[in-house]
Symmetry: D3
Subunit: 235 residues, 6 copies
């Protein structure tokens, strides 16, 4: 099977990081291309960034239709552009945030989401509400460390992340943790051992999810929400 992973920001560093993760975890018989758009924001931290990242990402999805991909993974834990991408794609489009939530639902009663910044918590909650899954959300908590702090004090970062995660499990009743927070990405296994709950790395989960969907031979619905757009004049 052949999967296209489209990072939606334009950072080569992040694209390479994603590539190295999926190369490591992919099935031996999975072929994978990891790409990013040429134009657009280098990182995505706001709806504003998303707005400019989506059109170039859609161009990637359009070109992919000519190739023999079995699935396309939009690799951003924000699902920007997913509806539009599905409208124009006969290849299944996997949404990283949506797929991670779906898997979390099957591993415990409620999930907790660890993010980097307070500012993005409301958008995350809005996404969960939009998906109709509020009753399964235990909490969203933010690490709130500056990038400078993260780089300068990895031990401190880990310590704070562990403390925060423990509160999410013990106080908020999270039975599954989602690491929506790059700074903690390396500490998933430690968290898992220490807290006894599954800890989900969205990149890993969504890529495995993409392989599963491709394997099932099923595509997102083309009726209703993702109906193909009519031909349209553009200025």
């Amino acid at each position: 099977m052949k999967i296209l992973v489209a990072n939606i920001n334009t950072s080569e560093t992040i694209t390479n990081k994603i590539r190295s993760v999926v190369e490591r975890i992919k099935r031996t018989d999975t072929e994978v291309d990891v790409v990013c758009p040429e134009k657009g924001p280098v990182t995505i931290d706001s709806s504003y960034d998303e707005a400019y990242a989506v059109p170039p990402t859609l161009e990637l999805v359009k070109s992919a239709q000519e190739s023999d991909y079995d699935a396309i993974l939009l690799a951003c834990f924000c699902d920007a552009g997913v509806e539009a991408a599905r409208e124009i794609s006969s290849i299944p489009v996997i949404a990283m945030e949506e797929a991670t939530y779906a898997v979390a639902l099957t591993l415990g009663s409620k999930f907790g989401l660890l993010t980097e910044k307070r500012e993005r918590m409301a958008m995350k909650e809005r996404h969960v509400r939009r998906a109709g899954l509020l009753a399964r959300l235990a909490c969203i908590r933010a690490l709130e460390l500056s990038t400078a702090d993260l780089d300068a004090h990895p031990e401190e970062t880990k310590r704070r992340g562990l403390a925060l995660a423990e509160e999410m499990v013990v106080k908020d009743g999270a039975e599954v943790l989602i690491l929506g927070c790059a700074a903690m990405a390396g500490y998933g296994e430690d968290l898992q051992k220490q807290l006894g709950v599954p800890v989900l790395d969205p990149t890993v989960v969504a890529f495995k999810y993409a392989e599963m969907i491709a394997d099932m031979g099923v595509t997102h619905s083309r009726v209703g929400l993702y109906s193909p757009p009519l031909p349209k004049e553009f200025n």
Copy 2:
């Protein structure tokens, strides 16, 4: 007071139509500019169209910051680009769909939404779910007439629209009707008389809402969902 109405598609015809509506209904002391982006789709019927309409619309919002507008109305009954626009705007940004729902909530127990096409019904329901307002939604129904039909048979259009609206009130329990359907725009008053329910034209409602917000001197929250984005590198 001075209001910017930004149509998000690039149709001059539609922009002119909006201008003529708001010129007619505005307070005498309201100054209004009605504009549309130069680039982008001529009409908006899909998430795909929305994706390409948003960045040029954001440029309009950015320029508006330099002027002395008291409110900016994004004039599309789909609220595309609203989050991003609010992030970058210290001037209140009014969302047409959101404002219409808010007003509908105060006029009756449940509202019904009349749209043009079946294909957009799921997206509308998703927006209502995202807003957490499902318990107040009576129904979404689609007129399902081709543009050709609409033009050729205005009487038939009106007849079908009235029949549909009556079902929404009698069968679905809608106490307020929202005309999310340009083809029926002229028939609001007839509907209102015939069915005894308020019938909301989103352009009218959202423009009056914009005047109200400007008048109150309040702006959308700049904490949380609409936090200003950090400066960001673009490729």
Copy 3:
């Protein structure tokens, strides 16, 4: 346009206070009458008080039908009597609590409500649940200062109100604050500056809302929830 503001308690002091607020904020071309019933409780702090306040208020609404009012605002942040008033009124009846929630929905992801007394928190939550808006409620918090304290220690009141409001924003995720608490009424602007969130004073919001509805020429639905009552024999 001409608006009737009906305070539902019988306090002249409060009625005068409301009058002075609406006189200050009304459009220049708005004519306004601010009245209160002759009989009934002097303040409203319970469902018991509401029960006795409603019939005299309905008499005000009935007389108003003879006049040329464009809207009637029931000026109590509890919406007592609103359904009955709408049933008998062909003039739009604006509900202060309902209108404030509607506006809050369009300014941020979730709103927080600051009240005076713990005892009324459950009733407030019940109103939000009745309106189907629980998913948008961040929190309800009570100031819990006795009237004596409020009068004797205005600085202390302000300090505690600010501290409470800050917790609502930072801990509870409120992006919009509603001042359902007369003691803090004067401090809205300070709160707004200090916390970066819109702070809504229900009297202001609901009056501006009433002007908007009158301006739109729309009335609450007379089908369903607010159907006109049949003539009825009384003992």
Copy 4:
């Protein structure tokens, strides 16, 4: 045990009917007084009627505090005045609509409500939403026969009621039926036999519920929603 049943309308006929029902179904050791207010509407069909019925009903509740009642049942399937009554009563106040819904929840997955008039359906749904029970409501349907019809054609009434009830079970998935409809009151047993679902007569259910609560020795909470009102000046 001793129970006060307070009909909240002023109809002697209805009060006598309620008395005859509760006299028939009460435990042998239950003493019961069935009363109605002297002033107020003769029947209750609107929020307007409710508004005028409540204060005289509260006077009944107040006087009852002096007596040795073990429970007070407000005998109107609309729960008007219940919050206020509980605030001023140290004797448990039973709400007919609320108690019927509570019992319905324990007899099947979802309940259906049969009412007399379309106009009251929205208010009923609003009550269910206020109680947070929408997920358990199968449907609300109205018989829609004029009183003249009901009197003139009892067979036709029964036939239509049965047909309607069958649709509620078969199409809407109601597993429990509530007869919120005096015209059908005599046909509960026939419905029950024919459809195989429990059919609840609110007067019976709520009176038995009142006996149970009295028997348990428990009272509604006096903290929060039903906190006793403070002494208050009245004009």
Copy 5:
């Protein structure tokens, strides 16, 4: 009337304790049999325990069909086996947890649940969600004392229970408390006095509820969720 109380665990001690409670609180004219299965777990603390307790309990329900019971109460605050029992029973089957929640709904705005162990909190919340009652749940809190502690330090248990219950009322807004926690069973009245909220002992509430249902002459629905199973071949 004659009621069968079926404890679903096999502990004689607990069965005797239940018997002594119901003997004390039953109406004088109620006949009661309190039994437990011969086979199965001695106490129920997990879904695993429940799985093995249910089939022997169903045998008790089957035999009861031959007798003249007016109601069967499954006496476990977990409602294990209730659906199956109702499917095979033409005698009303009362579920202890479900009945307690139903009664709690009629005594205050929101209820709080006090349990013994953190581990069971998620299952409790799942039950409330399954019942569609989340909007009425204030909180679930666990006492978290080992059995050894409970036995050795009754005063400490009571002190901690009271402190916990107070937090549930003051911080979480619980207006009704449910003692889903045997260790606190004796302290209900103290709690009630101290906190001013009704405190529900599920054994008492559910038994009184069973008497009420028997008295009403109503049975759970045999259509839909509790449809009688078809004859079935077993290996």
Copy 6:
């Protein structure tokens, strides 16, 4: 990887059918054992059947702990016994109904469920409510053909199934269909082509889901809902 598929009924025919499906769809490197309990009902059509099927199924789960399975799939579209199985299993336990719903959430806005019998519809809805997913459920509809009909008239079955499925898509707004209905199992591809929506066969979906979970190396949470049971005395 090695997966245990545990059919929870005791039918050899059904077990063989499941085996043939999973043998056909499994990855080439997946080893699979398909088993069923020796004791228990031959088919599962009620909560009563489920109650007797669960303990023998748990014995299968217990024995599996000694082997080197990477995942255990409980192969019944009712998820009976899943909580108990997870409590005692350090190997991930996959629930067929839960996994199918999770996948459906990622393929369209709302899913529709096609079942065999009206009687099971309420239980299905209850499961969706328990999972907190009601907002994503478009409809549950039943084929309602007797087994005799199904066998005698396969063409008629297919025709009715297609007609029903079309209504689910066109009238109810289902964008994804779940075939919870063995009689239609062979017609998934036809439905998919004809209606343009993904059609999910739970056996296929859940098995692929099990492979994915095994591949991810993640297990259900052992904290909260699925906490390991304490050692327990049994009679």
